[in-house]
Symmetry: C2
Subunit: 317 residues, 2 copies
């Protein structure tokens, strides 16, 4: 492990908030994620050799400044906490579009910390990596919220309320349900989006929203699909964000029309997600794509089981 | 059933809010409740023949004005909705102290509606009685909240968010846990107490509280006692109400010191509850009573399984 060979970790993209659980509920997806390769080097510190895009070319936007990249910041936090000698050199391969609402910064942070962990003299359990991944995530996103990092790390549907961190709770995922994630080619900056949210809310607002969250929790615990459908709503955050996503209403309507249980923004958008019965997921994805293109935005979609796999090691590249 | 004989229903007292779920979580208790006996009469309408206290005497405070009593209002709502001919005469026997935070008005409403239901030509399922019991409850308590009516009706621990009414969800109740309910001899008017609550809350406040609620839901679904302990907190409502209950801090501290997982007001107080391992429930109850008497208030306590029985018919008195 301590030789010149790179180890490579994959961490999936994820759906933040999942409508009902702002800053505390996240869902991993399949088919999109970041890869970070790491190798030990004699010199102290964590550096990035290169950042590449999906096409294999050097990334058009992200530099290899290790102080700015969530992968290197997360990896360095772990490496230093473990008191390792020497340092790390990373290669980051971005599979998650930037500013997409798909947890791009978290996927890099998680892949970085999981790769670094594999090179520790005494690797930690994956749950113990959360605080380090969050340190990486903070470079990109204001506030200490784990709703992308936690599902990217553990997979599936994860509850991670800020007040309980670093505790995170892998929730049961009803069989027969899938997620559809649609990414329209638009940019939304999460940190900026968060600053625009109202700070104060009425008792009626918070009781309504926490009622939906509690009902959703009961629904997934008992596989009560109608209860999940009734509760999969965001009455507080979504209305404040949709003006930044012109195709929002058309895509959401299309998802519901196609039979989805619910649909909302993924994180701060512009991506939208829907939950639906697995048998109609392909149909829902097509409907969402058509609606998005009808609004004039090119797009891409991913269909995943609710139990999508979390971060894991891959063979070295 | 349609003769002159009274049928009698019992409905238990209950713990409202259960710390984490203001207006949406309630827990039935054992050993305290109201009884309503009903018989058909030829004349239209629902009247109350008498209201008696635990001692068997005519109740010192409650009159037999059927427009003011939650039992008769609830029973009349059901009776009229069912289009029954004739009317009902009720006898109300109060086992739950008034203005105690133990769901006194709800216990009467539920017992009233369950007794009336037994005399319908076509009785409804017990879940269908909620809207009628709530109509009774509204006579006594401002706002449409079901966190006492729902557990009194169904028993056990019930989730009943205002946004999902009339849906209510009986939650799993971890084996090996008990509730302790302590009633200090103090009065708190629920409707007045509700009016004093702040209307606005910061995002941090509601995210913290809904995080505890979601964590509590996960904890009871998986029997994770440490998670229940961590989450059984009310950071929003409790601080606004404890000034009305001078013994609050001493009794709560005593419960926690004796090993309870958590303790808070029951409803708007003055009663307090604690959840704890069943093996130490008697010890927790004694510690709470001693602390309460140390503050100069006489008191009474009840220990119940979390799966305490809901409303049910009894033999006619």
């Amino acid at each position: 492990m301590a030789g010149n060979d790179y180890v490579t970790a994959f961490a999936p993209a994820s759906i933040g908030n999942v409508a009902v659980g702002y800053d505390m509920l996240g869902l991993a997806i399949s088919g999109a994620g970041d890869r970070v390769s790491a190798r030990r080097v004699p010199s102290k510190g964590v550096s990035i050799a290169e950042v590449r895009g999906l096409d294999g070319n050097i990334h058009a936007i992200l530099s290899n400044d290790s102080a700015e990249n969530t992968a290197s910041v997360a990896a360095a936090a772990l490496w230093e906490a473990a008191g390792q000698s020497g340092g790390l050199e990373l290669i980051v391969r971005k599979g998650v579009p930037l500013q997409s609402g798909m947890g791009s910064s978290s996927a890099s942070a998680v892949a970085g910390v999981v790769a670094a962990n594999a090179l520790l003299d005494a690797p930690l359990d994956i749950e113990a990596l959360l605080p380090f991944a969050l340190q990486g995530e903070q470079v990109a996103s204001a506030g200490m919220h784990a709703d992308n990092v936690a599902p990217s790390l553990l997979g599936g549907l994860v509850l991670c309320p800020p007040a309980l961190l670093p505790r995170m709770i892998r929730l049961p995922t009803p069989a027969g349900l899938s997620s559809v994630l649609l990414h329209p080619e638009l940019l939304v900056n999460t940190a900026e989006s968060r600053k625009k949210l109202a700070r104060g809310y009425s008792m009626e607002q918070w009781l309504t929203q926490q009622g939906y969250l509690a009902g959703f929790m009961a629904g997934i615990a008992t596989n009560d699909i109608e209860l999940i459908r009734e509760c999969l709503q965001d009455v507080i955050i979504e209305p404040q964000r949709i003006s930044a996503v012109p195709c929002f209403q058309a895509v959401k309507d299309a998802a519901l029309q196609a039979g989805a249980l619910g649909s909302s923004l993924s994180g701060s958008g512009p991506s939208l997600f829907a939950l639906c019965a697995s048998g109609i997921a392909a149909k829902v994805a097509i409907a969402m794509e058509q609606a998005c293109r009808g609004c004039g935005y090119e797009c891409q979609s991913w269909v995943s089981s609710l139990a999508a796999e979390g971060a894991h090691m891959e063979n070295a590249a």
